[in-house]
Symmetry: C2
Subunit: 316 residues, 2 copies
C-alpha cells in the first residue's frame, strides 16, 4: 500500500504549475510550497503538472527544480517528480556508471518491479540513453555478477496466480542441492531465480523450507566478503518479500555513523507510491521505532520534510 497522500480536491495542473513557478521567483526559493504541491500528487498528476509547466513557460520543470534546489533535497524532489519508468531508467543508468556503480540498485530494480514496470523502465532507458539497459549492464559487469544480473533485468516474468506444484518440488530440490554444494553461481539455480514467476518461486521457496527445515535465505547467510552471495541472497529476498528487503536497506541507511542519504532517498522515492505502508510496518516491527521518528532523528530541513511527506506523515 502506498504512503503517498493526495488531497481530496486536487488543484488544476495549470494552477500547480503556476504555484511552482512562483516558488522559484524572487529572493530565495519557497521549498515549503514545492513540498506542499509535489509531495502530494501521484505520478499521473505530476506528469500533467510537468506538461502544463512546459506549455505555460516553455521550460522543463525538472530543469528548473535542478537549478533552484540543492543537495539531498534536490535529489529527492527530482527523483520523485520523474515518472516511475523514467526514474527507474535514471537510477539504472547511474548504477552502470563507474562512479555510481551499484549491482544492488540494478538487482533491486530487476526484482522488485512488476514485469510491466520493468519493461517500461527498459523502454524509458532506450528513449533517454539511446541504448538498452541490458547492454550497459552486460558491458559494465563481469563474471558471476553479469551471469546473475543480465537474466534478472531482461526477464518478463509471468504474473498469473498459476502454480505448478510438481515443478516447485523439483526445483526446490535443485536449489537445495546447489545451495548445499555452495554452487551459488550454478546455471540451474540462476535459471530458476531469473525466469519463474514470483508466485511459482514462492511455492518453490515454501517447499524448500518444508522439505529441508530452513528457509533458503537462511542457507544463504554470507560472510561479509562474498559480495556475489550477498547479492544473490538479496535478490531472493526482493522476489519473495520486497518489504523486508527495503526495511533492511532503510535500517542500514539510517543506523550507524551518518546516514546513507543515497539509499534513503531512493527507497522513499521509489516506494512511496507502491508499498511504503508495508515497509513502515516492517520497520516498526524490526526496530521498535517508527520510520517517521527514525527519519526525524537522522535528517533535517527541507530534505526531512520531503521524506516525511512522502512516507505519509501529516496531512496532504
Amino acid at each position: 500500500m502506498a504512503s503517498l497522500k493526495v488531497p481530496a480536491s486536487v488543484p488544476d495542473p495549470c494552477e500547480d504549475a503556476e504555484q511552482l513557478k512562483k516558488a522559484f521567483k524572487g529572493w530565495g526559493t519557497n521549498e515549503e510550497l514545492i513540498i506542499q504541491i509535489l509531495a502530494h500528487r501521484n505520478a499521473a498528476q505530476r506528469k500533467l503538472i510537468r506538461d502544463s509547466y512546459a506549455a505555460a513557460y516553455g521550460e522543463d520543470l525538472l530543469k528548473d527544480l535542478d537549478s533552484e534546489l540543492t543537495s539531498d533535497f534536490q535529489r529527492i524532489v527530482l527523483l520523485w517528480t520523474l515518472s516511475p519508468a523514467e526514474r527507474d531508467a535514471y537510477l539504472a543508468n547511474e548504477a552502470t556508471k563507474r562512479l555510481t556503480a551499484s549491482n544492488w540498485v540494478i538487482m533491486e530494480i530487476a526484482c522488485t518491479r512488476s514485469s510491466d514496470e520493468l519493461f517500461k523502465a527498459r523502454q524509458a532507458y532506450h528513449t533517454r540513453y539511446k541504448k538498452s539497459f541490458e547492454e550497459d549492464v552486460a558491458y559494465h559487469t563481469t563474471g558471476d555478477f553479469r551471469k546473475l544480473l543480465v537474466p534478472l533485468i531482461t526477464a518478463f516474468r509471468y504474473e498469473g496466480e498459476e502454480v505448478n506444484m510438481t515443478l516447485a518440488r523439483k526445483e526446490a530440490n535443485i536449489l537445495h542441492e546447489k545451495v548445499s554444494g555452495k554452487a551459488y553461481n550454478d546455471e540451474e539455480l540462476i535459471r530458476i531465480i531469473s525466469t519463474r514467476s514470483k508466485t511459482q518461486l514462492n511455492a518453490t521457496f515454501n517447499h524448500y523450507n518444508d522439505q529441508h527445515g530452513h528457509e533458503i535465505i537462511k542457507d544463504l547467510e554470507a560472510d561479509d566478503d562474498d559480495e556475489y552471495l550477498k547479492l544473490l541472497r538479496a535478490a531472493i529476498e526482493c522476489l519473495k518479500t520486497p518489504e523486508k528487503y527495503f526495511e533492511k536497506v532503510l535500517r542500514v541507511a539510517i543506523k550507524g555513523l551518518g546516514t546513507d542519504e543515497w539509499d534513503l532517498t531512493r527507497v522513499v522515492a521509489t516506494r512511496a507510491e507502491v508499498d511504503m505502508e508495508r515497509i513502515k510496518e516492517e520497520y516498526n516491527k524490526r526496530n521498535s521505532v517508527t520510520l517517521d521518528r527514525a527519519i526525524t532523528g537522522d535528517t533535517s530541513g527541507d530534505y526531512e520534510r520531503m521524506l516525511l511527506a512522502l512516507i505519509g506523515h501529516g496531512d496532504a
Copy 2:
C-alpha cells in the same frame, strides 16, 4: 517489403466473415474462397474478420478453420490467420516442446523480429501459455544452447540509428579474437551479439571485415557436426541480413528429396507481411529461378495456391 496483396477496395469484415462461414457450409469446403479472402487481408483486417466472425456466429474462426481444413494447407491458413504476435508465441511454444523442439525457430524469432515485435510475442506467450517464453526456453535447453538463446530472446535491443564507432572497433576485435581462438561460446562474444543494436552490430561486423579481410560469417563456417556453431552463425546472419538467412531456409526446404513444408510454411506465413519481396529477390539471384516457380514445382493443390497468393503471385 511485404509481398501481401490487399485489394484496392476491401469488403466489410462482417461480409468477409459471412463468406468464410459459407465456405465451410454444405458438401465440402470452398478452399478457393478461403484463400481469396484470408490471403489478401493484412493483420489488422484479419483481426477484424475474426472479431466479426465471433460476434456473428459465437464461434472462433480459428477453431472452424482447424476443423474444416487438413494437412499443410490447414497449417499455413491457421498460422497466417493468427496475429503476428500470437503466431510467434505459437511457433515459439512449439519450438520448446519435445516433439517439435527447434533451437533454430527460437533463434529465428529472437533475431529477425523488431524489439517491439519480440516483446509482443513474449506478451502473447504469457496470455496463451500462462508462463513466460524465456522460462520454457531456459528449462528445455542446456549448455551452450541455453547460454546463447536465453539472452537472444530476452533482449530488448535499442533501435535508433546511433553508432559508436570506437565501440564497434573494440568489439570487432573482441569478436575476432574469440572466433580465431574458436571460443564460440565465450561470454563476451555472446554479450555483444545478444545486447547491441542491429545498427551497432552492423558497424562492428563491417569493421571486422575491413580489419581482418573476412566476413565474420565466413570465419564461422562450421563442419556439419557442430550444431551450436551452426546456430551461432545463423543468428549472426539473421541479425545482419535476415533476407539471406530466409532465402537459405527456403532453398534448403525446397531442394533435395521432398520438401520441408514445415520450414516453407513458417517462412511464408511470417515474412509475407514483412520482407518477402527482398527474400524473393535473394532467392531469384541465388537460384536462378523465381520463388514462385520453385514453389509451383514442389507443392500442389490448395497449399500451393495459398503459398503463391501470400508471396504476391497474381492479383489480389
